[in-house]
Amino acid sequence: MVEIANPGMLELVVDLVLMPIVAFVVGLALVLMARRVRAKIERRVGPPFLQPVYDIVKLYSKRTQISHGWMHDVAIMLLLGGFITAEIFLPVPGMSGLAEHGDLLTLIYIMMVPMLGMALGVGDCANPNGSIGISRALTAMLAYDVPYIIAVVGACMVYGTSNLVEIVQIQQAGGPATWGIVTMPLLAIAGLISMHGMLGKEPFEIYIAPAEIATGPMVEMSGKYMGALFVMQCFQLYTVGVLYTTLFLGGGEMWLTFLPKVFAVILVFVAITNLFGRLRTEDVIAWMWKWPTGIALLGLLLVMIDV
Amino acid sequence: MTQPKNLPSSLDIILHEIPGVRMTPKEGRRIRVDSSPDSLPALLELLKGRMGFMHLSAISCVDWPETDEFELIYHVWSYEQKSLVSAHVSISRDPGRFVSVYDIHTPAGFYERDIHEMFGVVFVGSPNLRKFILTSWDGPPPMLKSFDTLGYVNETYGWVDYQPDWLRDVEGKGGGIES
C-alpha cells in the first residue's frame, strides 16, 4: 500500500524538482530503446548509449539560433512548461506530486497545452510545410482522441473515481486481478491503439512525414528549438507510457516493478512502428474511428452493464 | 532478331513518291534516309501516315564547320514495322533556319527548342524558342564548334596552375599506381 502522507512543503518541493528530472532521464532511455529497436529490426548496430544526450547537447550548443518571431520563442517555453506540468500531475511510485489537486481529466487537457504551444510556434515560422504538418497533427488528434476518451471514461467509471492516486491504490490493493487490463480488456486495447496514435509514430506519422512536408512542424526548427523538440519527445514517450501503466497496468508501487511495465508499453509501440508505412490523413481518421472506437464502445457497453 | 526482309521494298514504293530521297538500310532494324531540306516534312508525314512511324524520339544536330553546314537527323521509330528511320537533312550554317515539324510530331517542339539554344538554329513555326536549360546563359550557343569552351572555362572559372609538391614526387615515382 503506497501510503500517501500529506505532502509537507519540503516533500512537495522535492517532488516538483525530482519528477521532471526522472521523466527526462527515463524519457532519454525510452528514446534510446526506440532507436536501438529500430536499428535491430533493420539489421543495424544502432546508436551508442549516450546518443540522445549527444544530440540534445549538440542542438543546444549551436552557435547561431534562428527564430521567426517572439511567438516562436514562447512556443518553446510553452512546450517544456506544458510537459513539466503534466509530469507533476502524473503520480509515480513514491512521488504523487500534485495529483491530489488535479485529476485524470485535468491531465488530459494539460497534455494538450504543449501541442497547442507547438502549433502556434510553428505557425509563426511562416512556412507552409509547418502549417500543413500542424493541420495534419490536429486532424490526427481528432482521430485518436475519440477512442482515447472512451477508454479513459470507461476506466473512470470502473474505478468509480478520476483521481489518479486512488486509481493506483485500487489496483495496488486488489493485486493483478484488479488491473485495468484484466477488468476491462477491450478498453485497454483501444487505449493502447489510441496512445500509439498520440505518439505520432509510423502508421500515424502523417504530421512528421519527412518525404512529403519536410518533417512538418520541425521544418524551421534549428538549434535549441530543435533541442526542445527532442526533449519533448522524451517527455512524450515517458508520459504516454506512465499514463497507460497507471490506468491499465496497475501503476507502480516501487520503481523496480514500475519501469519494466513502462518500457514494455513503449516497446509494443516501437515494435509495431517499424513494420508499417504511413497512412494518409483521411485513412487515419477512418481507421481510428472504425476499429479502436468500435472496440472502445463495446468495452464501454460491457462496463456500463455491470457498473 | 527478325530481319525485316520485306521492309525495303514497301519503303521503296513510298519513297519513290518523294523526289530527292535516298535510302540505305543500316545494320539491324535501322534505315538511313537522306532527303533534301524542303521534302523532309512530306517524308515524315508519309512515314507517319502510311508506315506507322509514330514516335519521333529525337532530333540531333551536327555542326560541320568545313562545309559550313548543320546536319539535322530526325530519328523516327515505328512500332508496327519495328524499325528506326534516321532522316538526315543538311542546311547551311549561315542563315541557320529550318521549318518546324511541330505540327507532325508534337515532341519536336522541345527538341527544336534545345537545338535552338545549343546551336542557334531557328525553327520557323516552332511554338516556343525561349531559353530552355541554360536560363542564365547570355553567351553564344555553346555547342557550336566555333565556341572556344576551354577559353571560356579558363576565363570564367579562373584556371589555377596547381602543382603541389606531393603531386610532383608522386609523378616522380612514375605515376600514382605503385607496381
Binding site: 517544456l80 506540468t85 489537486h101 488535479g102 485529476d103 502549433a119 502549417s131 482522441d145 473512470c156 481518421i285 | -
Partner: protein, 625 residues
C-alpha cells in the same frame, strides 16, 4: 422607488437619450458611464438575493386584462442582468474611440445597444408569465432592430431571425394561455404549486411548447440556422454583445420556466412511450447534438465572424447540458459556463472586428501573418481561443471540467464523449481561426497595417484578463453562480477560491495554473540561459526546397485548412436541416397561395356571408362558447 425601478428607469432614459444624440462624439463614453452605473446598481441588489428566496420588487404594476403585472428580480434574473450590463459596458467602450469615427450610423448603434439592454432587464425582472412574455417579445424585437442595420444580407438574416422568433413567441404564448386556462392565473407561484397536479399529457404539451419557444432563441439544433448569419452581419460591438448575451436569454427562460417552475425533476418523470428515455434526457441529447453539429459546421467556415457565431451555438449546448444534469456540480458548471463564455467570446469577436477595422476583410483566405503587425490583438484572440477550446490556464477549462465531472458522477459516459468530441472540433477550428489570420506569411498589402487603436484594444485585453483571472481563481465566478443556483433551488456546490474538491476527483486551479506558470518560467529560463542568443529572421529567409522566396509568390497554406478531414466528412454536410427549412418555407408558401387563390374568385362577399352564417348557427347551437 426600489433599486429595480431605478435600474429600469436609468436604462430607459439612456435609450431615449442615446437614440436622440447618438451621433455625439463621446456618446460611447456616456454609454460606458451609464452601463457602469447600471452594473453597480445590479451588484447593489445582490444583498437580499443571496439566500435564494428574496427578490427586489418593482413598484410599477400596471393592470392588464384584469390582471396585475408585476416585475421583480430574483437571483436568477440578477445573474443574467449582471452579465448583460457588463457586456454592454465593454461593447460601449469598444464603440467609443476611433471605431466610432468611421461608423456611418453611430446613433442607431448606440441606441439599439441601450434598447437591447433595457428590454433584457425588463425580461430578466419579470414577475409573472404575462410580463415574461412581454419582456420576451421586447427582447426579440430589440435584437431584430440591432441586426438589420446594415441592410442587404444583414436584413435578410434578421428577417429570417424574426420568422423564427415569432414562431417561438407564438409557442410560448400558446403555452401561457394553456396555463391560464388550466390554473387561472399567470403568477409563477400558482404555476409552481399546480404542476404536480397536471396530467402527463399536459406536462408534455407545456414542456414541448416552452422548450420549443425558448429553444428557438437559444438556437438549439433544429432551430440553429438563423443565428450565425444574423449575429455575424451585425456591425462591430453590437455583434459581440449579441454573441455574448442575447442567446443566453433563452437559457434564462428555460431555467426559469422549465427549471424553477415546472422543475427538472418532474421532467425526468415524463417517460417517452417507446424509447427508455425521459423528457430531461431527451433535452440533454438535443443539447449534446447542439454541441457537436454547430462546432463541425464552424470548422468549415471561411469567414472569421461566421466561425465564431457557429461556435456560440455550440457553446450554448454546453450550458444547457451542464444545467440539465441538475446536480449541484452540473448546475454550477452550466451557469459558470455562461459567464466564461461571455468573457472569451466577446474578446474573440471584438478582436476579429479589430482585424476587419484594419484590413477591411474577415475572409480567412485573404489574411495571414498579422502577428507581426497587430501583436496585442493577437494576444487577445489567443487568450480567447484558449478559453473557447477550454484549455487549462483559462476559465473555459474550469466550467468544461465541471461539466465532464458532473456527467461522470451521474454515470452518463455517452454524453461526456459527445461533449469531448465537441471540444476536439473546437480546438481544430480555433487553431484554423488564429492561424489563418495571424500566423503564416504576411501578405504584401498588409505590410503597413497598424495595431488596433487603444479604445478597441482595452476592452479586448480586459475581457481576456477577466477570463484568465476567473481561470486562475474560479472561486470568484463560482461566488456569483451561487446566487443564481440558490434562486434555482439547487443546493450550493462547496467550493474554495481555487476550485472544487470532490470525493471522486478534485480540481484546484491555483495549483494547476501556478505550476503551469512556474514550469513555463523554467522553460523561459532554459531558453534564455542555455544556448546562444536568438537571431530573428524575416519571413522570406525560409526553407522552400532551394527556391528563392519573394513576396510575389504566395508561400502560405490557409485555404481549406483541414483537407483530410474535409475529404472524409465532406459528404456529411448535405445541409439536411437547411433542406428541411426550405421545405417548410415552400409548404407554407404553397398553402398561402392556395388560400389566396380561393379568395381571389369574384364573388368573395358570398363566401364571407356563408362563413358568417355558419359561425352564427354554431354559436347559436350550444349557447355560446
Amino acid at each position: 422607488m426600489s433599486l429595480l425601478d431605478l435600474l429600469l428607469l436609468l436604462s430607459l432614459l439612456t435609450t431615449l437619450y442615446l437614440y436622440a444624440f447618438g451621433n455625439h462624439r463621446n456618446a460611447g463614453h456616456l454609454g460606458m458611464v451609464v452601463y457602469a452605473v447600471a452594473t453597480g446598481l445590479v451588484i447593489a441588489m445582490a444583498g437580499p438575493l443571496a439566500d435564494g428566496t428574496g427578490a427586489v420588487g418593482s413598484t410599477f404594476a400596471p393592470v392588464m386584462l384584469g390582471h396585475v403585472l408585476s416585475w421583480s428580480m430574483d437571483g436568477l434574473g440578477w445573474f443574467f442582468a449582471l452579465l448583460t450590463t457588463g457586456a454592454a459596458f465593454f461593447a460601449s467602450w469598444y464603440m467609443s474611440g476611433e471605431w466610432n469615427a468611421e461608423q456611418p450610423n453611430k446613433r442607431i448603434q448606440h441606441g439599439t445597444l441601450a434598447l437591447n439592454v433595457f428590454c433584457m432587464l425588463l425580461l430578466l425582472s419579470s414577475g409573472d408569465l404575462l410580463s415574461l412574455f412581454i419582456g420576451w417579445e421586447f427582447v426579440s424585437w430589440a435584437a431584430f432592430l440591432m441586426m438589420t442595420q446594415l441592410g442587404s444580407h444583414a436584413a435578410r438574416a434578421a428577417f429570417r431571425y424574426m420568422l423564427y422568433a415569432l414562431a417561438g413567441a407564438m409557442a410560448v404564448f400558446a403555452a401561457i394561455l394553456i396555463v391560464k386556462a388550466q390554473i387561472g392565473s399567470f403568477a409563477f407561484a400558482d404555476l409552481r404549486a399546480a404542476v404536480p397536479a397536471l396530467s402527463d399529457g399536459l406536462k408534455w404539451l407545456l414542456f414541448g411548447l416552452f422548450g420549443l419557444g425558448f429553444g428557438v432563441k437559444m438556437a438549439i439544433v433544429p432551430f440553429h440556422l438563423w443565428q450565425a448569419p444574423a449575429y455575424s452581419f451585425t456591425p462591430g460591438a453590437s455583434s459581440a454583445f449579441l454573441n455574448a448575451v442575447s442567446a443566453r436569454m433563452g437559457l434564462f427562460a428555460i431555467l426559469l420556466v422549465l427549471g424553477k417552475l415546472i422543475g427538472f425533476a418532474t421532467l425526468s418523470d415524463l417517460a417517452l412511450p417507446l424509447i427508455p428515455m425521459d423528457a430531461k434526457t431527451l433535452l440533454m441529447w438535443v443539447a449534446a447534438i447542439t454541441m457537436v453539429v454547430p462546432t463541425f459546421i464552424a470548422l468549415m467556415q471561411t469567414d472569421a465572424r461566421m466561425l465564431l457565431t457557429w461556435h456560440g451555438i455550440g457553446q450554448g449546448g454546453y450550458m444547457l447540458l451542464g444545467v440539465l444534469v441538475a446536480t449541484p456540480l452540473g448546475t454550477a458548471a452550466g451557469l459558470m459556463h455562461v459567464l466564461n463564455y461571455a468573457s472569451y467570446q466577446m474578446a474573440l469577436v471584438l478582436a476579429v472586428f479589430a482585424v476587419i477595422h484594419r484590413t477591411g476583410t474577415a475572409d480567412l483566405d485573404e489574411l495571414g501573418g498579422l502577428i507581426k503587425r497587430m501583436p496585442f490583438t493577437y494576444l487577445a484572440l489567443l487568450m480567447g481561443i484558449i478559453g473557447l477550446a477550454g484549455l487549462p490556464p483559462m476559465n473555459g477549462f474550469v466550467s468544461k471540467w465541471m461539466i465532464y465531472k458532473s456527467l461522470l458522477d451521474t454515470q452518463q459516459p455517452l454524453l461526456l464523449i459527445a461533449a469531448f468530441v465537441g471540444t476536439l472540433g473546437t480546438i481544430l477550428s480555433v487553431y484554423k481561426l488564429i492561424h489563418n489570420i495571424f500566423l503564416g506569411q504576411l501578405r504584401a498589402e498588409h505590410q503597413k497595417v497598424g495595431e488596433a487603436p487603444g479604445s478597441m484594444l482595452a476592452p479586448m485585453l480586459i475581457l481576456a484578463g477577466i477570463g484568465f483571472a476567473t481561470g486562475f481563481f474560479p472561486g470568484l465566478a463560482l461566488g456569483v453562480v451561487d446566487v443564481a443556483q440558490a434562486a434555482l433551488g439547487v443546493e450550493l456546490l462547496p467550493h474554495g477560491l481555487g476550485g472544487v474538491y470532490l470525493a471522486t476527483g478534485s480540481l484546484n486551479m491555483i495549483w494547476v495554473v501556478g505550476i503551469m506558470i512556474g514550469a513555463i518560467g523554467f522553460g523561459a529560463f532554459v531558453f534564455y540561459v542555455i544556448g546562444n542568443r536568438r537571431y530573428g529572421v524575416h519571413q522570406f529567409d525560409n526553407y522552400a526546397g532551394g527556391h528563392f522566396l519573394s513576396a510575389d509568390i504566395r508561400y502560405h497554406f490557409s485555404h481549406e485548412f483541414y483537407p483530410g478531414l474535409a475529404r472524409l466528412i465532406g459528404p456529411w454536410y448535405r445541409g439536411s436541416v437547411v433542406n428541411m427549412e426550405n421545405g417548410l418555407m415552400i409548404g407554407l408558401k404553397t398553402a398561402g397561395d392556395l388560400w389566396h387563390g380561393a379568395f381571389r374568385i369574384a364573388y368573395t362577399p358570398f363566401y364571407l356571408l356563408v362563413a358568417l352564417a355558419i359561425g352564427l348557427w354554431w354559436a347559436g347551437l350550444d349557447g355560446g362558447f
